[in-house]
């Protein structure tokens, strides 16, 4: 049997769709091999690199990974740390050691450092098979988030919102003069003057909705120019 590729680059595929026939093609994540066939297991855009077929997911629940920078909410106070919710099924533990370099004596009220309902920008340092997660605030830029507003986005669109080497976020940031932090778990934090925050929110929503289209940077640039000019 000759090996055939049944899809083109940039095609939208859905679960159960046969992508290729033949053993010379190599499946990657989001698909599986059934005999000679490679079958999609996720909705996404196909990208073919030689004999390797990839799926860039169009929707994807967040799976915590070591090294991810995420935004979480302090949900509970523990003996020597805090429980931080990460949007999605799992919550993380922020230990006192990883939270601050201050000396904290025994029996001190931990809410004076992080109170319930406060948000932190943190890094995941450990994930177990049962998804018990440790996070840290030690690292560049990691901190408690004060003020601003939060936005929940589809975690699959986060790479597009960040852009190549942060270009998309930087563009929106510069145009709207709003500080933007994007967590890998699909939580975005914005801080600027309220009018600009609204424009930045709309911009991020636009990127999220059009994430699968090409030439998005150019579209966004034009749109932002219009908004910023028109709004003043």
């Amino acid at each position: 049997m000759t090996d055939t590729l049944l899809v083109k680059d940039k095609d939208v595929v859905v679960p159960g769709e046969t992508l290729a026939q033949g053993m010379s093609f190599v499946p990657s994540t989001g698909m599986y091999r059934d005999g000679e066939n490679i079958i999609a297991a996720k909705i996404g855009l196909v990208s073919v690199e030689g004999k390797v077929i990839k799926i860039v997911p169009l929707a994807d629940p967040y799976v915590p990974k070591v090294g991810d920078i995420v935004i979480g909410e302090v949900n509970d106070v523990l003996f020597s740390g805090w429980r931080v919710g990460l949007k999605g099924p799992y919550s993380a533990v922020l230990g006192v050691k990883d939270a601050t370099s201050d000396f904290i004596g025994r029996g001190v009220d931990l809410t004076q450092y992080f109170a319930l309902g406060e948000y932190v920008l943190c890094k995941i340092i450990n994930v177990t098979s049962q998804k018990l997660i440790d996070i840290t605030l030690r690292g560049q830029g990691l901190r408690k988030l004060n003020g601003g507003r939060l936005l929940a986005v589809n975690p699959a669109k986060v790479p597009r919102i960040i852009g190549r080497e942060g270009t998309m976020t930087k563009m929106i940031q510069d145009a709207t003069k709003t500080e933007i932090v994007v967590g890998q778990n699909g939580v975005v934090w914005l801080n600027g003057d309220p009018h600009n925050e609204v424009i930045a929110t709309a911009a991020i929503r636009m990127v999220e909705q059009n994430a699968h289209k090409s030439g998005l940077t150019q579209t966004m640039k034009t749109w932002l120019d219009e908004q910023v000019k028109g709004g003043r």
């Binding site: 859905v14 679960p15 159960g16 079958i39 909705i43 169009l58 099924p89 049962q130 998804k131």
Partner: protein, 241 residues
């Protein structure tokens, strides 16, 4: 009088007209709508999210939980009393069993994926419309799935094998003026994985002969493949312009 022409003039192997749409519930993680004739199923998927009550958590993988609900004025007869009933519980269970073989939640131990199936308009075939729409909604939510699931009811009306029965056809004996009230009417909902042809839901109501059942299953498989095409098209349409 034999059942030669269907009440709505369809061919015996033809489904009612279908409209499928994905992403109809903006706040859900995934959603879909399937309208097949006078039956409309709207499905919203939430999760993976934390499982409550906690004793139902499964440390070996995520749990799929379905909620089937017919809205109060959706049916032909009396108002359906809101909330759970024995029938809804059973259907939720069989839909869960039909979807579980395709979804892979091993990456989400102790979590749950909730599937809410709401029937806003019903004219028979609700569990099939529910399964079909739920498969689309799960795919829309980005859950790993080995395949979609397509479902249809096939059956017998007065010795004819027909696809996608309506309420009137299921109650053929009450409506027709035939003397012999024992002419068999059977209703057989089937759900199947379109790529492999595996059957994941098979129920039956009524009487049927062995050779007729075989014919019905073959017809059901053919129709499920057509329904799968509708599912695929709807999922792709969300991202096309």
């Amino acid at each position: 009088m034999a059942y030669t022409k269907r009440f709505d003039g369809r061919a015996i192997d033809e489904t009612r007209p279908m409209v499928a749409k994905v992403g109809v519930v903006p706040r859900a993680d995934g959603s879909a709508m399937l309208k097949i004739g006078g039956t409309t199923a709207i499905v919203a998927v939430y999760g993976p999210r934390e499982m409550h009550p906690k004793f139902m958590q499964n440390p070996r993988g995520g749990v799929l939980r379905c909620h089937y609900n017919m809205m109060p004025f959706s049916g032909h007869g009396e108002r359906v009393r809101p909330g759970q009933n024995r029938r809804a519980k059973e259907i939720s269970r069989v839909i869960e069993n039909a979807l579980r073989p395709v979804v892979d939640l091993s990456a989400f131990p102790n979590a749950v994926v909730d599937v809410f199936i709401e029937l806003s308009e019903t004219d028979a075939g609700t569990r099939c419309a529910g399964v079909t729409a739920a498969a689309m909604a799960l795919a829309d939510a980005g859950i790993d799935m080995k395949d979609l699931v397509a479902a249809v009811a096939v059956g017998f009306v007065d010795d004819r094998v027909v696809a996608d029965l309506t309420y009137n056809e299921e109650h053929y004996n009450d409506y027709s003026d035939i003397e012999d009230k024992d002419r068999p009417v059977a209703d057989i909902p089937i759900a199947m994985l379109p790529t492999t042809g595996e059957i994941v839901l098979l129920q039956m109501d009524g009487k049927v002969k062995r050779e007729h059942l075989k014919a019905a299953l073959e017809l059901g498989q053919k129709v499920c493949r057509d329904i799968n095409e509708v599912q695929r098209r709807a999922l792709k349409e969300k991202y096309q312009e």
